[in-house]
Amino acid sequence: MTQPNYDRTRGLALLTMMERIRAFERQAELAATRDQLVLGAIHLSIGQEACAAGIIAALRRDDLLLSTHRGHGHTLAKGADPTAMMEELLGRAGGCCGGKGGSMHIADFGVGMLGANGVVSANIPIGAGAAHGIKLLGDDRIVVDIFGDGAINRGPFLEGLNWAAVFGLPVLFVCEDNEWSATTRTSDMTAGEGAAARAKSFGIRTEVVDGNDVEAVADIARDLVAAIRRDRQPAFLHARTFRQGGHTYFDPATYRAKEEAAARIASDDPIARQREILLGAGVAEADLDRIASDAWAEMEAALAAAAAAPFPEDGSVFADVQDIGSPELEAY
């Protein structure tokens, strides 16, 4: 079944990242439901881990990434510290945004993660702009800009793709298509042939991939990233995946049949699929289980550390707003 030249090292690394993302998301969910420590909405990426792991494996550390409200997985894959991320979800001082952004604005500029965005589609032209800045500065970094299928119905999708194509910018747009626009089926709200057809209409190189096949995602991402780095032109990847849970952790997803999600989870879970590939390649099941249990232990420790961490100083609400007319001096 497995190809003779199968790269087990890469396959294991991809599985490890997916297990870490899932464990992070499960711990975040526990932090919200069991511990009542996450007070705001969080949007989990369970079932979509192959997109984060496969795409970001193709990037250098100094490449840039922009993400969405469902951005924990992307941020972790780019190299952010899970304890700092968990602290951010819990609004703690040591969070990667000092507790000021929370889940929906999670960012770690130190690893090139320029922020999740709470406004659907907004990160698309901003990502094009980051690539525009790189072009002006003249270095060889690239930008990956990940958004959901709901984002293709807002204007910034059109404006951002057009911008990147017109100016010839080094950006990979990724539509991580989980089939749901919040709690509405995207296909019911989208005219025409959808994301890939729209991207192609701008003359942008466009690929479609099974977004739950992490090996396929990693392969196409490697090719696209290499092409963008070489040619300094945008590309578009439509990755088809499936959101296993609700829109937020507290959304029971009553708008779709339980059987529908159960069947998809049983047949098309990206982690289960990758485990099958690795078993076929001769990796021992115990080794795969250890990857999962190590990931769980890592994220359990991250949550424990975050739960014990202090909240920000009260006065920091006035810091980092602006230099000129700072609210520290002028707010009242």
Partner: protein, 320 residues
């Protein structure tokens, strides 16, 4: 020193900033040919098309792309063509640019100048004439510049480009050709007003082109023996509360005049601040446009204008 136009002064400040710092660049519709009002004339020839970039008619993308480029270390000057069109990029300015530094915990800056030519000109109707400066003063994270003279359009443009904060830079499009002496070495400090006229009887606070009308009113009043102290705020965030409060406390009378709609306008902020801090001899007044839409027909348009005569009349009533 030298005489420059209001528009030409900002152009010269921008030219000097681009020559001094290779990370400064401009982007907007029709910049290649010098901008709609000639604010970028000659820059493309000097700095090339990458640094003086045309753009699709895509305000949201212009604003967002400049923001993305600012986050990676460039200093964009963004042209919105008309302040009215900047509303197409409201999410980008308000939800993204103004908040990025804070919500990312200080990891990011947005050193941007966002130019929005504003105000009533002539028969430009409801979508090309608005003054919405009070909206931006309401948003934490933004600096709001409202220059009214050639000197200030030089000094403040220079300061705006040097600032690490996003500056909403509102030039009044009725006064591009106004001339004035410009001292290029004159210092400028954000949040300091300019006292246009000194006087002891009434304090008149204004900004943007309306400050020119206020000064004209002040000269008329002076000839009648009424001492009007005319204060041009120059920036609405931060704004010079100290100067205004000190002056109003001294004259005991306060009038605020602005071209924008009076209801919910920044004049209300000025009045509210002063009455909390100073005892006045008369009830303070504000004059602005009625809460009506700007029409095309010149006689209807004139009904919404705040004129020097109106400002002088209001001041006389206050002093009566």
């Amino acid at each position: 020193m030298g005489v420059m136009t209001y528009g030409g002064a900002a152009l010269e400040a921008l030219r000097q900033a681009m020559a001094a710092d290779p990370t400064v660049w401009c982007v907007g519709e029709d910049l290649g040919r010098g901008g709609v009002f000639g604010q970028y004339k000659g820059l493309r020839e000097e700095f090339g098309p990458d640094r003086v970039s045309d753009a699709p008619i895509s305000e949201a993308a212009i604003m967002a792309a400049a923001f993305g480029a600012a986050m990676v270390g460039t200093r964009p000057v963004v042209e919105m063509r008309f302040a009215d069109f900047a509303l197409c990029a409201t999410d980008e300015l308000i939800n993204q640019i103004a908040k990025a530094r804070f919500m990312f915990g200080g990891q990011s800056r947005a050193p941007m100048v966002i130019r929005k030519p504003m105000g009533m000109w002539r028969s430009s109707a409801a979508q090309h004439s608005q003054s919405l400066e009070s909206w931006y003063a309401h948003i934490p994270g933004l600096v709001v510049a409202v220059p009214s003279t050639a000197q200030d359009n030089f000094s403040m443009m220079k300061a705006a480009i040097e600032a690490d904060d996003p500056v909403v830079y509102l030039e009044h499009k009725n006064i591009w050709a106004n001339e004035g002496e410009v001292d290029q070495a004159a210092p400028y400090q954000w949040g300091t007003a300019r006292v246009r006229l000194k006087g002891g009887d009434v304090t008149i606070v204004s900004w943007s082109d309306c400050a020119n009308r206020a000064e004209q009113a002040g000269r008329t009043l002076a000839a009648e023996g009424i001492g009007a102290e005319v204060i041009d705020l120059r920036s609405l965030w931060p704004w010079d509360r100290t100067a205004v409060i000190e002056s109003a406390a001294r004259t005991g009378r306060l009038l605020v005049a602005h071209e924008s709609v009076a209801v919910g306008g920044f004049g209300a902020e000025v009045v509210a601040t002063v009455v909390q801090e100073a005892d006045l001899k008369a009830r303070p007044r504000r004059i602005g446009a009625p809460r009506a839409l700007i029409p095309y027909a010149p006689n209807l348009e004139d009904q919404l204008r705040v004129t020097a005569d109106m400002i002088a009349d209001a001041a006389r009533e206050l002093c009566a």
